[in-house]
Amino acid sequence: MALLQISEPGMSAAPHEHKLAVGIDLGTTNSLVATVRSGLSHVLGDEHGHTLLPSVVHYAENGVVVVGTEAQKKQNSDPHNTIVSVKRFMGRGLKDIDTTQLPYHFAEQAGMLQIETRAGIKSPVEVSAEILKVLKARAEEALGGELIGAVITVPAYFDDAQRQATKDAARLAGLNVFRLLNEPTAAAVAYGLDNASEGVYVIYDLGGGTFDVSILQLSKGVFEVLATNGDSALGGDDFDHRIYCWILETAKLSPRNAHDTRLLMSKSREAKEWLTAHAETQISCLMSDGEFVNLTISCEQFTALTANLVQKTLSPIRKAMRDAGLSIENIDGVVMVGGATRMPQIQQVVAEYFKQTPLTNLDPDKVVALGAAIQANVLAGNKSDDELLLLDVIPLSLGLETFGGLAEKVIHRNSTLPVARAQEFTTYKDGQTAMSIHVVQGERELVSDCRSLARFDLRGIPPMVAGAARIRVTFTVDADGLLSVSAREISSNVEAHIAVKPSYGLSEDEITNMLKASFNSAEADKSARMLTEARVSAGAIISAVNAALEADSALINKDQVSAIQDEIKRLAAICTTDDTDAIHAGVETLNHATEEFAAVRMNASVSRALAGKALDEIKL
């Protein structure tokens, strides 16, 4: 057996070394992890070779957290402590969810809903982190090393709170999130690269709990999303639920306990899957009160029961087509993604709408993870000459509450990311030093019909007469689709302080506390770990800046070069001490010292990219 060469984390020797990165599809029903090996994207399996990890988390009596198939087996016997489809709860409050059919005990509180389990009150973020931890461990076991980062997919139609919750879950699981990638975009990457497609493609993605439609222009390795739409509360689960309601009605069953509900839901799901390839199926099960249910459902009955669910997917499609300014003749192909698209009635309606047979040649369960892995591989820098570039959009407009409870749009849906918009505000009372800003997401005119994202309190506005202050608030949405806000009073140039109260998210403190709680090691271990991490990040920035100087030091003058080199030496010296805080501060200082250099390099690389244009001609 060959000996593995092991280097200090972050100090990895060879630049051409393959960096370990994965794509994770964190699904409502199943989750997967994939990676690129020898140029090909593969889904990684567990020790039994199973690639699909059921997104089920069971908090067992012995204190162990069980995830996947074993947890799934507990959902009938211990429904209160077995969380399924947790993705539906991400970034959501109690009033957003129909809890009547759910077996869980929800904790009464504002903000994101919380579930009472025997292991304590759990946020959907913590439950999702358990799933991610298992996938991380699976990948590290299979790849034989620590991951440098991951791309995690989210439904394109996820709002800011749902995205933030997903990113928080990954942080809790100890993953470095390279990027949150929209599921249909990930599928387009896997499909487009596999088939060398060019043109305009529609991705129809019906997962366990979410529906997305994205329209993309594929051209020479650039995947440009033209428009996206969807329904973040519509998925395969709803089809199960229709069968479940049909059983209750047909068998004239009285309201059921949690155990029976779970059992009937499982039977409904099995029936749905069976009907994909069969004309009819039998549903038989024994209820806890001894009653025996025995029914037969046909394909036609199932199609009729779910016709309006299928129709519900057409309205988002029409919206996306209008936003993209396209008609059906412009569409070169329709790619089906998500296990639920196996249902024949869905394929039929999609074929009728687009007047063409949808493309089903990729495994609809795996295509998202495969695409995410390709993106993760590129982001890790494993392929420097790669042409792959994804230009995605914000799915829902961002707005502000104005007078009379109206929402004013600041950033429109389907704007290409990253995007920034500034808006000016003024004070309305003399001497006013603070103001409150309410950020909402959605298309409706009334704030009450939109989703509340956060409230920002701006403080430290210099006292002036009413209407004299000019506060410029800048909304920035990054490539993950996440919003950040900054504010400045223009006349005095005072940076206003912003206190963020996310409406459905976790605060920074809550995350920190969860992270702390997850370190069950001794205090000494904890600080040793933090010191190692600080040194790793210092090492990473030093080597990055050194590489940048080597390549482009000619772009700045000698004094600037030596100033940066001095900071590198200073940080290297601090790294030999055990002072974690000082190392972090040193990293910060070096970063700041290289800001101008980074900007100059960026401009130079853009100039190089615009072929045939000399630097001074473009005057960047």
Partner: protein, 173 residues
């Protein structure tokens, strides 16, 4: 870093732009500056990537839409196409506006999506005719005063079209 969108894209400032070059250069700029290229980079690199990619997107959106492109060209001449003191519209265009608005309201009341789609197509056609005028006014004659009126019409047309789409969406829900 230039704030001039045309310079950023390596284009001469004109209403009639070479679309293929424009699209290609946008992709080249994004390929070089998109934050995806700097995921493992330093905080300083991420910051400048974010800034440049955001500027490129803003510039792309502005130049892609004919109404916004014309408005931007006028701004470069120091002219604000839409301002509180500059709202005059020729009578015939005002009449046409009112007709469109009435047609929109009628179709909305009748919940007639087909009529709304037809109205949308009709107004779009009207807009396309204005594009040809703007090439002449902005690029050849440099008649910025008339171009301002035409740009304002185009902006208005975009607004009616957006309202029609909103109405269709509302009916579709």
């Amino acid at each position: 870093m230039t704030e001039n969108y045309f310079e950023l894209f390596g284009l001469a400032p004109s209403f009639n732009i070479e679309l293929a070059t424009f699209e290609n250069n946008f992709r080249k700029i994004q390929s070089a500056s998109h934050p995806d290229r700097f995921v493992t980079g330093t905080a300083a690199e991420k910051l400048s990537a974010m800034q440049l990619a955001t500027l490129a997107n803003e510039a792309y959106q502005t130049l892609k839409s004919p109404a916004n492109r014309a408005k931007y060209l006028l701004e470069l001449q120091g002219i604000k196409a839409i301002s509180e003191t500059n709202t005059a519209m020729p009578t015939d265009f005002l009449m046409q506006q009112m007709e469109w608005r009435e047609a929109l309201e009628d179709a909305k009341a009748a919940k007639d999506i087909v009529a709304l789609e037809q109205l949308h197509a009709e107004i779009q056609l009207e807009g396309k005719a204005l594009h040809a005028n703007l090439v002449d006014l902005l690029d050849i004659k440099k008649d910025y005063s008339t171009a301002t009126d035409t740009t304002r019409k185009l902006i208005f047309i975009d607004k009616v079209c957006a309202d029609i789409n909103k109405a269709i969406e509302h009916l579709d829900n």
